[in-house]
Symmetry: C2
Subunit: 342 residues, 2 copies
């Protein structure tokens, strides 16, 4: 299937931003730039990061793009190019396919029909998708993000095998003027700031990742941020890795953590507190930032439509601490590095 | 395992060439360069591209690096950075491990022992490797190539799951002065030139890929090459994709194809001719070049220790043709896009 898929993909990306040389050669060529390049790579495995039968392949493509772009946002980089690699199960897959495969009109579906005849040949009405159809749907999910963030899909690789679905992406961006946000710059006294609301991503947000690209670029331009990471393993665990890199600790106030509706909903059935979900669930893909006190005065409560909340301070004493009125006690990070991932 | 593995990997690569920001942050930062960046990505799936139980994980790392670097060689790019992603089976794997896990001396093994205690905790003497051990061995295979070609290992991702082993790599390089070799530049009259000897890679060479990096850089600097690709699907198939991009055809003389000893050996048991193996086997990872007649006069028969052979000419008539004395007849490409891959 690779040759017909490449031909289709090449046509499908022709309206997106274009690299110097894109899909179809031995490698892609990205235009020279005087900025440093920022590069991240992340894979998603069926059964660990998604359930194909439940979410459908387009959601897999969206999530893949979302989590990789989230890493670039955490560096304050401007994304430019995506590279995709898919290991597709050889046999047809029975799966939900929320999007119509063959809309009545539109250039994309026409090119699908002409270049990937097998897409129509093997019936998909009963929810069975051929490897080509799975590949097309994953790609369409990625295209949604590429269009939204003005990024090229510049290359990739497809393989057929006997195993479940595995997708990998490498996302490339340009460093902002003055350099990226790194993990090692937090200073005692800096505010611990989180974007959005946390917890309960398993109820759906983990498949609809909103990478904080626009917010990060605004923050990088207008405010001094000492360091950043994105919340993928859970606030507690990611905070720990952040202040460990900076050789300090953090004191947070649990009452200040912005809790998502999903975390509250989950708490009703999980037997855990909503704040525990916010602290530990992971896959929030919000940003966790160290912002100096002087900047906090002028930081708005919301930027690019996203809430910004100070939940505590970085402190010179190492470890994660909970401040409750006058009392301070140690807090277990509790981040559940989610069941099956690393 | 991810945090201890990252700590180990960070130390392991400290003697390699270094990017501006490497392993351990949300993304890597590559130094600004005035050259265009060349980027390729390729995945390998257990059961399709390797048999873990037979070859061991270090060979998987070597092959992963080899095939990705081969794509950069086909662009005449200078490799700079490798990014690796691995989806590791959760349970211990019974596999050949040709290299000793714990040599008595040496910094690398010490750091292994101190940072990855589980590497020693779960016994490996009977050929069972924990996910961490598999990850370390794959990484060591990649390090071999990184050292040989002066490349950084700049980032990656590890995941545990229930499926077989999948590894992905993105290799980044810099374009040569004057630009990369593309697939669309062959002109009728150009010689069809191949490097090395072809066929029978399944007998071992497919696991010990020698990317033609040095040769490509010498050729790019000293000779005019109209286009290039690497032979991964088989000479016939790759030749077809090469001249299709250039809208021409090729006439080759079967008797001139350099046949490897492995192809001859395989022919003794396969019932096929050695030349068929050379034409169709794939995974040779040699280069296929279009070189103008004027350059052929001064092209040596060997460069950087690698044989260079003209096996025919590009012609204006489309299609793949076999010239045998005065007769010309059409030739089926026969490249077997190998059984289980795309």
């Amino acid at each position: 299937m690779e040759h017909s898929f490449i031909a289709w993909a090449k046509q499908r990306v022709s309206k997106l931003s274009q690299p110097e040389v894109g899909i179809g050669d031995d490698a892609a060529v990205l235009r020279a730039s005087n900025r440093s390049r920022v590069v991240t790579t992340d894979s998603l495995c069926e059964g660990s990061h998604f359930l194909l039968a439940e979410c459908g392949p387009r959601a897999v493509g969206r999530k893949l793009a979302g989590v990789n772009l989230s890493d670039l946002a955490a560096m304050a980089a401007t994304p430019t190019d995506l590279f995709v690699s898919a290991c597709l199960t050889k046999l047809p897959r029975r799966t939900k396919n929320s999007e119509p495969m063959m809309p009545a009109t539109g250039g994309a579906s026409n090119s699908k029909a002409s270049l990937l005849p097998e897409t129509t040949a093997t019936g998909s009405s009963d929810g069975e998708l051929s490897p080509s159809q799975v590949a097309v749907e994953i790609f369409e999910g990625i295209v949604e993000y590429a269009e939204k963030y003005g990024v090229s899909i510049s290359g990739g690789d497809t393989n057929l095998w006997d195993g479940p679905l595995v997708v990998s992406m490498t996302a490339i961006g340009e460093a902002p003027e003055g350099g990226c946000w790194l993990r090692s710059g937090a200073k005692p006294g800096d505010h611990v700031v989180v974007t959005g609301e946390l917890g309960g991503s398993i109820l759906g947000r983990h498949l609809n990742v909103e990478p904080r690209i626009e917010l990060a670029m605004l923050l990088r331009k207008e405010f001094l941020v000492h360091e950043a990471t994105d919340i993928s393993d859970g606030l507690g665990v990611d905070l720990l890795s952040l202040f460990t890199a900076s050789r300090c600790g953090a004191e947070i106030e649990l009452g200040k953590i912005p809790i998502s509706d999903a975390a509250r909903k989950l708490a009703m059935s999980s037997g855990r507190m909503a704040v525990d979900h916010a602290l530990g669930d992971g896959e929030d893909f919000e940003l966790l930032l160290a912002i100096p006190d002087s900047e906090m005065q002028r930081l708005p409560q919301e930027l690019a439509g996203v809430r910004l909340t100070s939940i505590g301070r970085f402190v010179s004493r190492t470890g994660l601490w909970q401040r409750d009125g006058g009392k301070v006690r140690q807090l277990a990070p509790k981040g559940y590095v989610h069941g099956t991932s690393s």
